[in-house]
């Protein structure tokens, strides 16, 4: 049996041994080096650009500017089609909108000569006033996308004349009347910051013409099929002339969902007919790729004295930076993946504005709005408990969602569009809660323990939910091929980013076929060779792509039996994964397949499956921690973190656990250490790993992750997603623990020693 076994990743040993597997490893040796000249101004118009001295250098093969590239307005977001992000970007633009925006692209034989050429490009700018503070952006007199023919494919609230990338509003019930009827109404404001993905492999793209003149792109991307679609459309070439290969990727976390360098290398190769590669520097990753959307979240709760929650109202201001990628959908997820947690309320309100600023664009990032919304909701739940003098656990138990229930939110809010009504058929929130309370020894530690005069410890907790793919949008397909000798190739469009999805999908195929794991040889993510898949995002791979593999494998079983029936002229042949039994004959699959291809009834057996989700069952989680605060300095230490997760059936328990542990650390990083710091002019101050603080192994105490297994009827073998859920709980759990330890409530992330010290000393 393959399901629920922790087999090693199929690609693991090769990666650990350092085999060439990533984009830059696979680039042709003679690839031109491509670099990007980036804007030193947060907002400016290019009045002239002189590239003649650069082009005069013999080793320089081409220079791209807004004058010689296709002039289309599009979105780099890398989402499904029609795209829910505004069309507001150009390959290269006459107007630059943040420090780091692309001005020119230079390709040459060596890095040195490209650097030299870059220094010789003369650009004159008309510097425009810039908007750095996102709270001032809406209806500002400066317009960031003033005359740029921006548009959206369907109504997303886009209004460039107000600096609005997107806007959304929904209401359920009568908010005013419900709040009036409540014993207690509390309203608070929370801030979350821009966080950097900080994946270890920088954004990388390679282009070349193969021997048949097909434009081949190797790219560290989460969405090869979207890359192909967006490239073809905006380069004005047929989709059929492009091949996108996704090799191994050194981490993505949402940051590689978008188009980054692909246009530039493709254009260089088009113009020069030579291979080209663009590997971002770490500084470029920080300043010119993506951040998490910074948010200001106003949240109001209405409740009765006994703790019955009656109303939740949320109003968000989100900062999308210079371009509106994922603007609407991240905003909506802040509500759609948090509000159903408390599904018994009479009234829910959710609205938000996503504004443009002259900063590095925001984009997809693990948690995708849910982590921002969760910080506000799960913090204010503790604030409400405090106000009502109730136990925060009891308050949650009284109001939280349970198996068999539903929430109107599922129906009203999707990602970019309306949602899909859904009953929660698997939800072990109660069990998750009990589990972390026991393992953390909550009763003994709540709310605080005084260690010594200055040192105090506190415990805190948060619930969370996420989703599993986007219903009716995320689609995946798989092809299985039986080979002579009785092993199979599994071809999938699904994009393994290091999560282990190639392995998990192989396990699903092996389980369905009843064959050992090593009989499945997987090949993923090549737009020429593998079937379509929308890509690795929205926690979709196990759930959506897993189903497509299951379907393909079921059909393969049927095909084997059908062929065996014809072969042995029977009607009841059986296939048990190893042997085929027909009447009195037993023949191994190995022998059968070999005979089938070489000598008799010669026909290749191939099966395919494709799947689109009709619901998005949430995984659930409870995260709880104990923190220690030194009141003299504000130093905060996470002593231990406990997470209990309901992701349905963990297909590969080890890989599921690592997903949660890794996500927890990213969440702890966001809570305590990480922030993209902008200087007054809009440049990123901490644009290196020297200055941007990602937690190391010395920074946090032990983590304890456990699974409260459920069976999701709509999932492959009962599985739900697990990729994102782990990141959601740390901000609120840690903030709640700090409050329980010190009595001080921090509502702005990151919670640094400095911010806590200031708050402690303002008391």
């Amino acid at each position: 049996m393959s399901i629920k076994t922790s087999i090693p990743k199929v690609d693991g040993m090769g990666l650990v041994l350092g085999k060439p597997a990533y984009t830059d490893d696979l680039a042709p040796r003679d690839a031109l080096i491509v670099k990007v000249l980036r804007s030193p101004h947060a907002h400016a118009k290019i009045t002239s650009i002189d590239v003649s001295s650069a082009l005069a250098i013999p080793e320089i093969k081409c220079v791209l500017t807004h004058e010689n590239v296709p002039d289309h307005v599009f979105s780099r977001a890398g989402q499904g089609f029609p795209e829910p992000s505004p069309y507001d970007a150009r390959i290269l633009n006459k107007t630059v909108r943040y420090i780091g925006d692309a001005v020119a692209v230079i390709a040459g034989a060596t890095e040195k000569v490209v650097d030299l050429a870059m220094s010789k490009i003369k650009v004159s700018y008309e510097v425009l006033p810039a908007i750095i503070d996102f709270e001032e952006a809406m209806d500002h007199k400066v317009l960031i996308h003033a005359n740029d023919e921006t548009s959206s494919m369907f109504p997303i609230g886009h209004d460039a004349k107000r600096n609005l990338a997107a806007q959304y509003e929904m209401k359920i019930g009568d908010m005013g009347q419900t709040l009036d009827s409540c014993d207690v109404v509390i309203k608070e404001r929370y801030f979350t910051q821009a966080q950097a993905h900080a994946m270890t492999e920088p954004h990388s793209a390679v282009a070349y013409y193969d021997f048949q003149d097909r434009l081949t792109i190797i790219s560290a991307t989460q969405t090869p099929f979207h890359v192909r679609r967006i490239l073809a459309k905006n380069l004005n070439i047929p989709l059929s002339t492009i091949r996108v290969i996704k090799p191994r990727i050194g981490g993505g976390y949402g940051g590689k969902q978008a188009i980054h360098g692909e246009f530039f290398v493709a254009l260089v190769t088009q113009m020069t007919k030579r291979p080209a590669k663009l590997i971002y520097t770490r500084k470029e990753v920080f300043t010119a790729s993506y951040t998490r959307h910074q948010m200001r979240i106003d949240i109001t709760l209405g409740a009765m004295n006994d703790g019955t929650l009656k109303a939740i109202d949320v109003d968000i201001l989100s900062n999308t930076g210079a371009y509106g990628e994922h603007a609407l959908t991240v905003l909506m997820v802040a509500g759609s993946k948090t509000l159903p947690l408390y599904n018994h309320v009479d009234a829910v309100g959710f609205r938000g504005d996503v504004v443009y600023t002259n900063l590095t664009p925001a984009g997809a990032f693990r948690g995708y709005g849910a982590i921002q919304g969760n910080f506000a909701l799960e913090s204010i739940m503790d604030e409400l408990a405090d106000k009502l003098k109730l136990d925060p656990i009891e308050l949650r138990r009284k109001n939280m969602i349970h198996e068999g229930e539903t929430s109107k939110i599922f129906e009203v809010m999707g990602e970019g569009t309306e949602g899909t009504a859904m009953t929660v058929e698997s939800c072990k929130l109660e069990e998750c809660l009990d589990s972390v309370l026991t393992t953390l020894d909550w009763q003994k530690k709540y709310p605080r323990t005084q260690v010594d005069e200055h040192t105090v410890r506190g415990v805190g907790l948060a619930l969370a939910m996420q989703g599993s793919g986007i219903p009716y949008i995320d689609m995946a397909s798989a092809i299985l091929k039986l080979n002579d000798d009785g092993f199979f190739n599994l071809l999938i469009g699904a994009t393994d980013l290091g999560t282990g999805s190639d392995t998990i999908l192989s396990q699903i195929a092996a389980e369905t076929l009843g064959v050992p794991d090593d009989k499945i040889i997987v090949y993923s993510s090549d737009t020429d060779l593998t079937p379509f898949d929308t890509g690795a995002y929205a926690s979709s791979t196990t759930y959506i792509s897993g189903h497509s593999v299951r379907i393909a494998a079921e059909r393969m079983r049927e095909a084997i039996v059908e062929k065996a029936n014809r072969f042995f002229k029977v009607t009841d042949a059986q296939f048990d994964g190893e042997n085929i039994t027909a009447a009195d004959t037993v023949i191994s699959l190995k022998e059968f397949a070999t005979t089938l291809y070489y000598s008799q009834q010669q026909e290749q057996l191939v099966a395919h499956g494709s799947y689109v989700g009709t619901k998005s069952p949430p995984p659930y989680m409870v995260g709880a921690c104990e923190v220690e605060v030194d009141k003299r300095t504000g130093r905060i230490k996470v002593l231990e973190y406990h997470g209990a997760v309901d992701c349905g059936t963990p297909i590969n328990p080890n890989l599921a656990r690592i997903q949660v542990e890794g996500a927890l650390l990213q969440g702890i990083g966001m809570t305590l250490y990480e922030e993209v710091n902008y200087l007054e002019n809009g440049s990123v101050f901490n644009n290196s790993f020297m200055r941007y603080k990602v937690p190391t192994r010395m920074d946090v105490g032990p983590m304890h992750v456990s699974f409260e297994e459920s069976y999701e009827p709509s999932g492959p073998y009962g599985a739900k997603s697990v990729g994102e859920i782990g990141i959601d709980t740390p901000p609120a759990a840690i903030a709640n623990a700090i409050f329980n330890a010190t009595g001080v409530r921090i509502r702005s992330l990151p919670i640094t020693s400095e911010s806590l010290w200031n708050a402690l000393n303002q008391k």
């Binding site: 920088p202 190391t696 192994r697």
Partner: protein
């Protein structure tokens, strides 16, 4: 200037510019296990051994390596495989981009400290950033490895 590098036992003599970085040289020569992560010696993914000592190759000039013994993971495959079995058994290599640097740290660690404690292991690996795993699983794997190999 003319330099001679001895990489995993193979000798290479060539002309290097004074500002050439060892990371670039190694990748150019085909040692693709040496990854580029940060350009500021702060992530550990480009770590190799020079004369047996662990160094981040993005902060090491090629000319400084003249006549020195350089070891990349390509040169210690069997030794690494032994540790890697524990890492992959835990499923903790995830994207794998940091793994070769991580492994080179371990090779150096086990050379320097015969029977390290987990505390020593964590301290030694502090400069090896991993953004995927959360480290907890790495430590489980290494604790298992030590349990068998420290006996």
């Amino acid at each position: 200037m003319e330099v001679t590098l001895i990489i995993n036992g193979d000798r290479f003599s060539f002309s290097a510019t004074p500002d050439e970085i060892l990371l670039d040289t190694l990748r150019k020569l085909g040692y693709k296990s040496v990854k580029r992560g940060c350009d500021s010696t702060s992530c550990g993914v480009c770590q190799i051994l020079v004369d047996g000592k662990l160094v981040p190759s993005c902060g090491f000039l090629t000319v400084r390596a003249n006549h020195k013994l350089i070891t990349t993971i390509e040169g210690v495959q069997e030794q690494v495989r032994e540790i890697a079995n524990y890492i992959t058994a835990e499923g903790v290599e995830q994207c794998g981009f940091c793994s070769p640097g991580h492994m080179m740290s371990l090779i150096a660690l086990f050379k320097e400290i015969e029977h390290p404690t987990m505390e020593q292991v964590k301290h030694y690996l502090a400069g090896n950033m991993c953004r995927c795993s959360g480290y907890e699983g790495q430590h489980r794997a290494l604790a298992n490895y030590l349990e068998v190999n420290n006996r």
